[in-house]
């Protein structure tokens, strides 16, 4: 391909230098973070030998446990809700005749990707505050709703891509063979859409798990998620415990991303 035209970007001056700088700046901090999570001492900058003590201490820390469970619960519900909405939105934007205002709808669905997160966070804070006063409800519902909302575009994009890549004649063939619209969806579209749905849900899950800004604004007292808990810790004293928690989160995310990669590669 590139050799056909005689142009090969790898042979340009400075290519390897730039590549190395990019990789180092991307990965060196992460590598250091992981390394110091195994530090025997209590510094995140001075190596004092190998130990798993910070993992043990994080595991035993009630607040960490609490925040982890809360994070997982929120991420689970947010992934479920946003993926369900995303499936419907994806169907409505791929399986209909192109309509007036299609682009506006598309932009509206992907709004969380464009509006600065801090704006959404402040808006939600004010909005939910009003509801809290009216209803007196202070549970996790607010966080779940907020997370569901900003996870929608992340779930929507892979599902829509999958739907667009699907052969429409399959659905026509099913309709031709006496399947009603619902049966076509249930028997033909959905089974082929699964990889997209799974990918969307996993992405939404990871995005929710990772969120700080909106969570920080929307959470009530005692509703720390893992990221906001860690942020709180960093304000006081930094121990490798934070590194240990981060490393576990990193491992979880990497696992999800790898799974995402394999799921989206499932034969169309």
């Amino acid at each position: 391909m590139a050799s056909d035209t005689g142009f090969d970007v790898k042979r340009q001056y400075g290519f390897s230098t730039i590549a190395v700088i990019c990789f180092v700046s991307l990965y060196l901090p992460v590598i250091l973070l992981v390394v110091y999570s195994f530090n025997a001492g209590s510094s995140v900058a001075i190596w004092e030998g190998f130990s798993l003590q910070w993992y043990r201490s994080a595991w035993a820390n009630d607040q960490v446990q609490d925040a982890t469970i809360r994070s997982l619960v929120i991420a689970f519900w947010a992934a479920l809700i946003s993926t369900s909405v995303a499936v419907l939105a994806a169907l409505a934007t791929t399986r209909v005749r192109r309509f007036r205002g299609y682009s506006a709808v598309f932009a509206a669905i992907n709004q969380p990707l464009m509006v600065p997160e801090i704006v959404t966070a402040v808006a939600l804070l004010i909005f939910f505050a009003g509801i809290k006063v009216q209803t007196g409800y202070t549970g996790l519902g607010y966080l779940i709703l907020a997370h569901s909302a900003f996870c929608i575009p992340f779930a929507y994009l892979p599902i829509r891509a999958r739907l667009q890549g699907m052969d429409l004649t399959l659905e026509q063939a099913a309709a031709d063979l006496y399947a009603s619209s619902f049966q076509v969806f249930r028997r033909i579209t959905l089974p082929q859409l699964w990889p997209g749905i799974l990918a969307g849900a996993m992405l939404a899950f990871v995005i929710s798990l990772d969120d700080v800004v909106i969570t920080e604004f929307v959470k009530s007292a005692g509703q720390d998620t893992l990221p906001t808990y860690m942020l709180g810790q960093l304000r006081r004293v930094v121990t490798p415990e934070v590194n240990a928690i981060s490393t576990v989160l990193l491992a979880l995310s990497v696992t999800m991303v790898i799974a995402f990669f394999f799921v989206t590669r499932i034969r169309k």
Binding site: D167, T169, Q172, L177, S180
Partner: protein
């Protein structure tokens, strides 16, 4: 049985308005192998999709046994389609594909099992039931697509260029196979193709389409021997077009005057009067090369093309027209002429067809 009446389909509006179908009327009989033949973009697939229910016509009616088909959504129409790309469900096995229509119709389990077996036997795919559709060859996928469409025993089977993806040998054998299936099942087939040979070998009747309308409908022999107009004559088989003047016209017989001044009897299936200047179509295999003195027309043999079964004589007639004569290569045939020779061309009375203008 299927009555298509004054169906039009327009896409776009204003200047960009495009008539995919323009006032098409045709009726297809019970148990008929009916072919829609035409070049790509002629509207044949659109017409098929109107019958299947995937395209709503702008105007016109489609009825089946008197019932208005257009009022029904695709899944309520008693027709099934074999798609050009087969559209087999990739997540289902061969058996599940064939059973799909029957399941949707809510047939009892035992009946489904029996019908699937019957269909597998009909298309000679026994023992392949549990294969994935990706594990079988193109020809086998074709058979599964056929079995799947035939399993619900539709009144009409619609086939959208089903053989176009197969290689030559397989296409030949599937042509015979399709005709056999149609005869055995007694189902009406409406077959779409751009391949004139496919149409001629399989069909009971052919509708030749061009630019959204039907130009001629008839049995293969009639379409081939008596094309109504230049497009049909040109699209199906090879044809020589000769400018002629009508001398007399009576019923389906006409006397025409050729460019050489000689007169010959020709067939007529449309209104023409004496004195009209029009076109005569003569098939290359209906003409003969003869010594110059015996020719209806004369010219110079400009080229000889050998085709194995026959030889094409390219004759440049004296009035400037290139005329092709096809001669079968019999072993006892003496060489008639050599390139550059003066030569005569003739054809019997009644084989030429006067075309509609």
């Amino acid at each position: 049985m299927i009555e298509i009446s004054e169906v039009s389909k327009a896409y776009g509006a204003g200047k960009a308005r495009f008539m995919a179908l323009n006032n098409v009327s045709v009726s297809v009989a019970q148990n008929e192998f009916f072919t829609l033949l035409g070049p790509s973009g002629c509207g044949k697939t659109t017409l098929l999709r109107v019958i299947a229910g995937f395209v709503d016509p702008t105007e016109g009616t489609v009825t089946m046994d008197g019932d208005n088909l257009l009022a029904l959504p695709p899944h309520r129409r008693p027709v099934n389609t074999v798609f050009q790309n087969y559209a087999l469900f990739p997540h289902l096995t061969v058996r599940q594909n064939i059973a799909f229509g029957l399941e949707m119709l809510g047939k009892p389990k035992t009946e489904i099992t029996d019908t699937v077996e019957e269909m597998m036997a009909l298309v000679q795919m026994e023992g392949m039931a549990d294969r994935q559709t990706s594990q079988i060859s193109g020809g086998q996928q074709q058979r599964v697509a056929l079995a799947r469409a035939l399993a619900p025993k539709p009144k009409v089977l619609l086939l959208d260029e089903p053989l176009s993806a197969l290689d030559f040998k397989l296409r030949k054998s599937m042509q015979i196979e399709l005709k056999r299936l149609q005869t055995e099942t007694g189902i009406t087939f409406i077959f779409v193709t751009h391949d004139q040979e496919e149409a001629l070998t399989m069909s009971d009747r052919i509708a030749v389409m061009h630019a959204g309308s039907i130009r001629q409908i008839g049995p293969p022999r009639e379409i081939y021997d008596h094309p109504a107009e230049r497009f049909v004559a040109d699209f199906i088989g090879d044809t020589n077009f000769l400018p002629v003047k009508i001398v007399t016209a009576q019923g389906s017989e006409a006397q025409v005057e050729l460019g050489s001044g000689n007169r010959v009897a020709a067939r007529l299936n449309n209104a023409h009067n004496g004195g009209d200047v029009t076109t005569l179509a003569v098939r290359p295999e209906h003409a003969r090369v003869v010594p110059e003195a015996d020719g209806l027309m004369t010219g110079r043999l400009s080229n000889l093309v050998y085709f194995g079964t026959d030889t094409h004589y390219h004759v440049d007639l004296d009035d400037g027209i290139r005329f092709v004569v096809r001669v079968q290569n019999n072993t006892d045939m003496a060489r008639v002429a050599a390139q550059g020779d003066r030569i005569g061309v003739t054809f019997p009375a009644g084989v030429g067809q006067v075309l509609r203008d």
